[in-house]
Amino acid sequence: MSEGVARTAARPLAAGGAAGFLRRQWPWLAALVFALVVPWFSFDWSTGRHSGFIVSMLSQIGISIIFALSYNMLMGQAGLLSFGHAVFLGLGGYVTAHVVNATKGGAFPLPLELTPIAGALGGLAFAVVLGYFATKQRATAFAMITLGIGELITSCALMFQTFFGGEGGVSTNRMTGRSLFGVGYAAPIQVYYLIVAWTALSVVAMLLLTRTPLGRMANASRDNFERAQFVGYDPRMVRFFQFALSGAFAGIAGALYTLTYEIVTYDTVAGPMSANALLMTYIGGVGVFAGPVVGAVLIVLLQSWVSLLSNSWLVYAGVLFIMMVTFAPMGLTGLVMMHQPIWRAGRLGRLIGPYLRLLGPALLVLIGFVLAVELCSFLTIGAAQGKSFTLSRITIDPRGARPWLVAGLLLVGGGLWLRVAMRGFGAAWNAVTEEVKTVGTRA
């Protein structure tokens, strides 16, 4: 688990000058350039506007990246499973909303660009208070306390009017007229660039944090907390500091959320939001620093696009999650990292054939599964909404036996074929890894 973190941490940022920096950190720089440029692909020159859908989706990706990375500070780096991380996103958001409203009222002349600092301080303050209790425990007891805290704060958010605004939430207006650069922040694209800046800052800060003594001690107390104690560190303080800082970063995400949507409701502190952080982080991979970034991008894309196509995108996300837990506990980036030694040895080409042979049965199973899920969903939820199941102008009747038969055949046939293909793939994989090992020992 710590291997990926250790590897990135072992390389100092500045060593090797600018060229070396560029060569090592190019994926991050490429991602940054991509984030800056991509809204312009959707720019409509006739109206002079960006596509609202794209900008809103990209903003959501930026917020989710900070949120998921801050969650991984607990789950991946400190081994603490939290079920209430959204609390700090939401509370950071509420604090930001109140600060922006105070600025608007003239009480507090804070430029809008710096309001995420207020969010971070809000998240930090609440994480210090709640974390004091939660970090007394570890493992399952910690998970249970965070679950309790999450439910507690959600109920409070619905109950109290002054701070949380009850069910209606707290709305705000980001056009405070106070800005460092004289930007009005009327257009979503301006907020998007603010999000990009803060996401870049937060990612760099969290990456550097993994290389501090605190980051390394968090890894140590995750892997063996008793030995960490013998070294002379108090694991509880390590947990506490990690928890507090993670809350601060979640607060930044919450502040950006508030600036984007201009309203904070109890949804931001509630269970589904916490589950989202867990989903993004775990699917992306907890062992590699960039894992949650990959997960955040993937889940938001799924959320935005698949939810347009299908009622049941949550089912797909859930099944993906279960598959990852069962077969690939290191997440997507973990799967990619498994190929690194093979790639280094120049043997990756040998796996292309076996992978292609997996493609056919995997596709069959996937189609069969999607068909079955959609048939189910159209039979009940779709029927209640008066929708009909159309696939490129062919209407499929979910009441008929034929589509169910097709789905069943695809699932069973594809599943059996996949089993056979998996066995072949396993043999090929073992052969290649054996070869890589012998090459490694000879060299």
Partner: protein
């Protein structure tokens, strides 16, 4: 007085329902170390199965069939999924059950729709059993109490008088030792998991029509059952029983006692007005805070006594 007695009875009924759910969960948690998030999903499935089965062959048959279906499902989950995930560690196991609970909720929505289903109390029991101070005690509540007491006795006899029960009891506190003595611990796990699912399913059958049968019933019941299990303590059925009753009574009484902190302060001679700091918190009436109480209890017990009321091991 009448409020007290009626609430006491209602709290008892609710507490016994909680115990039916929590007893299975505490056995699974203590033996396998897995906090089974999908346990409340079994409760929900029990209610839905009972709804569907009772439309074909009636409520009394459903009372038997639905829990058995849940038990079979539980056994399958343990044998074919949980054992595999076990290799990936405790966190993976826990997350697997979280994902499972999520998928079961979505699958239920797809199979039975988003709205509550009309799963009703059988007509025979849909009447008043007796009157207490002018208010009715519903016959179905009596029936629920009867079923849960019968179940309690059955579990007690099973665990204390049979061989498998003794093995389970031993495995609660010393799972490794039981394995070292040559007992087939994985099979005991499967039996306990299936048994817990049967109990959860039974709770769903008798609780689904008493409360509401809807896709979110697992999500509302789940955290409360966790609280009960943690509160009662790991590895202790007796602690679990006491915790269930306490939780049932607390939740029932919180609804009927209409006081707030401001009222208590008024007794001490301090008047709370809208300008007092934290006035909103102080004037909040207890019935509205009722939903918070289980979580407050959970956090408090984990902080003060992490092993719970009668726990024998750390969580």
């Amino acid at each position: 007085m009448e409020v007290l007695l009626v609430s006491l009875l209602n709290g008892l009924v609710y507490g016994m329902l909680l115990f039916m759910l929590a007893s299975g969960l505490t056995l699974i948690f203590s033996m396998m170390g897995v906090l089974n998030f999908a346990h409340a999903s079994m409760y929900m499935l029990g209610a839905y199965f009972a709804f569907s089965v009772s439309r074909v062959i009636g409520f009394w048959a459903a009372l038997v069939v639905a829990p058995i279906l849940c038990g079979i499902l539980g056994a399958l989950i343990e044998m074919y999924a949980l054992r595999r995930v076990h290799r990936n560690g405790h966190i993976a196991e826990l997350l697997f059950t979280v994902g499972l609970a999520f998928i079961i909720e979505k699958a239920t929505q797809m199979a039975w729709g988003l709205l509550p289903v009309p799963y009703r109390v059988p007509p025979v029991l849909d009447r008043a059993l007796f009157h207490v101070y002018g208010s009715n005690f519903h016959a179905y509540r009596g029936f629920m109490l009867l079923i849960s007491v019968l179940m309690f006795v059955a579990i007690w006899l099973l665990l204390t008088r049979t061989r498998i029960g003794l093995v389970i009891q031993a495995a609660l506190t010393h799972p490794e030792m039981v394995g070292a003595l040559g007992h087939n611990v994985p099979r005991v796990f499967t039996i306990v998991f299936a048994g817990g699912s049967v109990l959860a399913g039974l709770a769903g059958v008798i609780g689904g029509n008493y409360l509401v049968t809807e896709p979110s019933m697992a999500a509302t019941m789940g955290p409360i059952v966790f609280v009960v299990v943690v509160f009662g303590g790991l590895g202790s059925l007796a602690g679990c029983f006491i915790a269930s009753l306490i939780m049932g009574l607390v939740q029932t009484f919180a609804v009927v006692i209409d006081v707030s902190l401001a009222d208590l302060l008024a007794r001490l001679g301090i008047q709370v007005t809208s300008t007092t700091p934290l006035a909103e918190v102080l004037t909040m009436p207890l019935p509205r805070v009722g939903a918070l109480l289980p979580y407050l209890m959970l956090i408090l017990v984990l902080l003060i006594k992490p092993r719970g009321l009668m726990g024998t091991r750390d969580t």
